[in-house]
């Protein structure tokens, strides 16, 4: 981590990585009309960017991904370990720190006029846009699928991701209003 990361930043990064792990304990829930269950995983990615900023948010998620690689079963459903990074969907997980950075950066430059709608848009750009932009080509390349097929296969997760972006927006907006220290910390 770079020179200007203070001890306080490290504590924030470590605790948000742990929070990301705890959020994955929220059981996957099924929404009637969707074919796949919604897991909370990218919710943590969106929240990290929106709540502790681009750099710290990205480092927190990077630390979380590192913990998974070290062999902690922190992914939804108790998955983890090195095998995750050799599977076909590794790109989606490797995209998370970048996603948190983009969401965080957009939030930072618009901090004075943030509201639930902007939180939703920025969460979607990072947590859906960036994740798919890295994850889909990765999947296509390693699984020898065409880009189109890989994109089609990933499409069933988009409705769930949109719901998560909305949930992230409501949470981020509630925290922004109820925990004024956030502004001071930034």
């Amino acid at each position: 981590m770079s020179r200007d990361v203070s001890t306080r930043d490290i504590v924030y990064i470590a605790l948000f990585a742990a929070l990301m792990a705890a959020i994955n304990l929220v059981p996957a829930f099924q929404v009637g009309f969707l074919p796949v269950p919604i897991t909370a995983q990218t919710l943590g990615v969106m929240l990290a960017g929106a709540l502790i900023g681009a750099k710290r948010g990205a480092l927190a998620i990077l630390l979380f991904v590192l913990l998974v690689a070290l062999g902690l079963p922190l992914l939804s459903g108790g998955h983890g370990g090195l095998s995750v990074f050799f599977g076909p969907t590794a790109g989606f997980i490797i995209a998370w720190p970048f996603a948190a950075f983009v969401t965080g950066w957009l939030t930072e430059i618009n901090w004075r006029r943030m509201n639930a709608v902007l939180f939703f848009v920025f969460s979607a750009i990072g947590g859906i846009g960036v994740v798919y932009l890295i994850g889909i080509p990765w999947l296509a390349m390693v699984a020898k699928l065409s880009l189109w097929d890989a994109a089609m296969g990933s499409l069933i997760f988009v409705p769930g991701d949109l719901i998560k972006a909305a949930v992230a927006a409501v949470i981020a907006e509630t925290v922004r209003r109820s925990y004024p220290l956030m502004q001071a910390a930034r």
Partner: protein, 199 residues
């Protein structure tokens, strides 16, 4: 106490150093994508399975761990079946099966602490770029310590809400969890600074 997916044992893989195992895994994964021979790729699946079994972890928990990846590979094979050729699908699935088995074998036989040491060691050469391995180590240790604490906090909030007759609602659960986490982060940072920790 052991945490994570590590399974204590005395197999040859358990005795090998973490660095050697991870380096071997990286070399093999690269080789598997570069070797043009299909026979080698297919032959590597039973070999990788043998390595996986050699960890000496009870068979039932080994199979349980493979279920998730197996479903995923099934979906990918189905895509190849519909839009491509059977041969291509088999090849893709065989590659993944080998790598997932070997990577799982490494994770099952390497304690998290040994992996964390390996990361700190690997980050050493990045020092000139401003990366401080000791700070990364502190972050890893802190977050490993805090995962069970925040999970406990999560359970307490859930129970408090259930006692008041509220159903599990992700919104109502996560907002207090986030705020409590931010508060404890501030307190912890104050405590560390008050004790003059600077690295």
């Amino acid at each position: 106490m052991t945490i994570g997916l590590y399974h204590p044992g005395r197999s040859p893989l358990h005795r090998a150093s973490a660095g050697a195992k991870v380096a071997g895994l990286l070399v093999l994964s690269l080789a598997l994508f570069l070797v043009p021979s299909e026979i080698v790729v297919f032959a590597s699946v039973p070999l990788a399975f043998a390595v996986y079994l050699s960890t000496g972890v009870p068979f039932r928990s080994l199979l349980a761990q493979l279920r998730g990846p197996a479903i995923l590979l099934g979906i990918i094979f189905a895509f190849h079946l519909v839009f491509g050729t059977v041969a291509e699908g088999l090849l893709a699935v065989a590659r993944f099966a080998t790598l997932i088995l070997l990577a799982s074998a490494v994770t099952l036989t390497t304690p998290v602490s040994a992996m964390a040491e390996l990361v700190e060691w690997g980050l050493g050469p990045l020092r000139p770029l401003g990366v401080n391995p000791a700070k990364v180590g502190l972050a890893i240790a802190l977050s490993i310590r805090f995962v069970p604490l925040i999970a406990e906090e999560f359970r307490l909030i859930r129970e408090a809400q259930a006692a008041r007759g509220l159903a599990a609602n992700p919104l109502a659960l996560i907002v207090p969890l986030v705020i409590r986490t931010l508060k404890s982060a501030d307190e912890l940072a104050d405590a560390i600074e008050a004790r003059g920790y600077e690295s």
